[in-house]
């Protein structure tokens, strides 16, 4: 049972940390809410319904990029453990691996995945599709609008 002591201590500590940091912000900050402050828009008009939450796609994008680069590091740990035994072979292999990741990163940067400012250079795509009233109207079904 003694071998699980570390895990238990870790569990207690992490719970304590979460509780303390949550409680501190709760009690230490001064809070004087008013109805106007809690309204979604402070423009004087009472909102008719809950505003639609907006999730910028960029958040997803950054999260996805993070997952990939985060998980690539998994390979670095076992490699680092036996780095000296591997010698030059290991170094070269890891450089090749890193190169592959860097190419992917270069692609992301060139596609503007990491640009957070206002969209400066949106690529213009020459669409061969002719847009007519018929096609555009059909793209917005009336039933969906009404709902």
């Amino acid at each position: 049972m003694a071998q699980y002591l570390g895990i238990f201590v870790m569990l207690v500590l992490s719970t304590l940390f979460a509780l303390v940091s949550w409680g501190m912000s709760r009690f230490a900050a001064s809070q004087r809410p008013t109805a106007a402050k809690e309204a979604p828009f402070e423009c004087g008009i009472v909102p008719a319904f809950e505003p639609v939450e907006r999730f910028p796609v960029r958040f997803y994008l950054v999260a996805m990029i993070f997952i990939i680069f985060d998980i690539e590091v998994v390979f670095l740990y076992p490699w680092a453990v036996i780095f000296h035994q591997l010698g030059r072979f290991g170094l070269v292999e890891m450089l090749v691996f890193a190169l592959a990741v860097v190419v992917a990163f270069a692609y992301l940067v060139s596609n503007g995945a990491l640009e957070w400012g206002p969209a400066k250079r949106l690529r213009r795509v020459e669409s061969p599709l002719v847009r007519t009233t018929a096609s555009t109207v059909r793209k917005v079904p009336s039933s969906e609008r009404a709902a």
Binding site: A106, Y107, V109
Partner: protein, 586 residues
Amino acid sequence: MTPLLSLLVAQVPALRLPQVDYFALLPEIVMAGMAFVTLGARSLTRRGLPPAVWTLVTMATGLASGTLAVLLGRRVETHGAFAAVDGALAVDGFSVLFLVLVSAAVVLFALAAHPWIEREGEDGAELLSLGMLSASGAMFMAAANDLLVIFLGLEILSIALYVLAALNRRRAASGEAAIKYFVLGAFSSAIFLYGIALTYGATGSTNLARIGTYLAANVSTHGGLLLAGLALLLVGLGFKVAAVPFHTWTPDVYQGSPSPVTGFMAAVAKAGGFAALVRILFAAMPTLRLDWQPVLYALAVLSLVVGAILAVVQRDVKRMLAYSSISHAGFILVGVVAASAAGAASVGYYLLTYTFLIMGSFAVVTVVGGPADAHQDLEDYRGLARRQPLLALGFAILLVAQAGVPFTTGFLAKFYVLTAVIAQGGYVLAVIAMLAAVAVAFFYLRLVLVMYGWAGAGAGAGAGAVGPVGDADAAGAGEVVLPAGTTSLAGVGAGGGGEPDLAVLGGGGGLALATATSTGVEQAISGEGLVAAPEGLAAGDGDPVPFPDATKVVLALCVAFTVVFGIWPAPVVDFARHATLLFGLR
């Protein structure tokens, strides 16, 4: 934590570096490396290069890796098969055959995709580098001698294909196809992986050669575990090659994906899946043959029957080709069921010829489809022979070859598969396969007739009936073209038209239907001259179809391969046979 760490640390003193034979890996390295180079170059050029550059680079990559594979084949011939990279890769005639096949598919894909890229204004570098990456995955699958390497190859192949399927961003169907492919693909990958884990637990290794020796030497004490692992492996690969109980994703994904991608998917995913299947079953688990043979037998019969019946009742050409690819998968499974060297050779030969047939066919579908791949209906092919005679002629040859008409590679492929299974005493399976081939030939011939405006009546019945897929047009075709076959065809339509995905037909019933259909088709063929209506009877022409140069090249290559090696089969057949003489490492 501590025991795991100590286990890791205990291994450290015994560390030995694997002998990496880079020459043996070169085809895969070139393919994957050029995918990264393409992506890097695309990222670094600000303005973007013309699409032709990427097409040429991809073609050069395919040619280079194919040449390297042939050189590797020379070395295998002189020195014999060997295992590379500490037993993780098998270098033998079988893997060389598939390396060449995948390289050829990459060249054809670059050519077939070029007109599509220019038409849709998509990013050629993205499409082609993903294609090369996916191809490298298939190459790893074919050369793998370790279940984990097979899994990694499978994932490289599939993940790139998911993105390729979604690549047409302006078409909602493309995204829908991608998500369907993704969910079912991830599901099947997980099942396959669980099969690997159980096999590993039962035999103590993921290396195919070591599993083989273990199973040959020991009477397994973990029989259930091993069989469960084997079953899960079969299910996982069954999804990938679209064998029948696991085929439901195929029509939707084939229809929704961009047309050139569909062709590539059909050729390469099938090649990778069958290469892995044959290698796992023949190299690692020949001792379990009595366990896996009946399962594959059932899969083969179901794929043949269901594929043939449902192909006939489709109206969308891409869906028809999807069901016909299921029927092809059934044929290839017949070769696997043979479980002999000849069987493995026939599987390789079938896949090689199928690659050219299907890539050429989808190159035509790409061109006829028009912007956003919109024109896929049978009606859009009406009178194609008048609008683009050469295009129609090439397509007709490829379709007829897929039907298995003599003097084409398609016929020889079916022939070798059947001789392989008959040599093992599988007469019943051979008969079922032949009947299914006749049934599915109806669909190919119908498409050819529509293109040439002959038997315009047959498809003309469908012109008015825009109704849902199924009974109407099958019955209509029966009425006009083949009076005697009417009832049988209508029966087929009723059986399969309503819910194609759920239609599970009993073996006996399916066989009866197939027989009925076959008689109808024979009459259709014999009566062709009588029914042939003068051209121009059919409705007005569709849109003019362009015929870009790249499509001309790819069509010429595919037709030349199909016809030349159909009449003079020796080189390709020898190549395929050579592949299996060296097959097996143990």
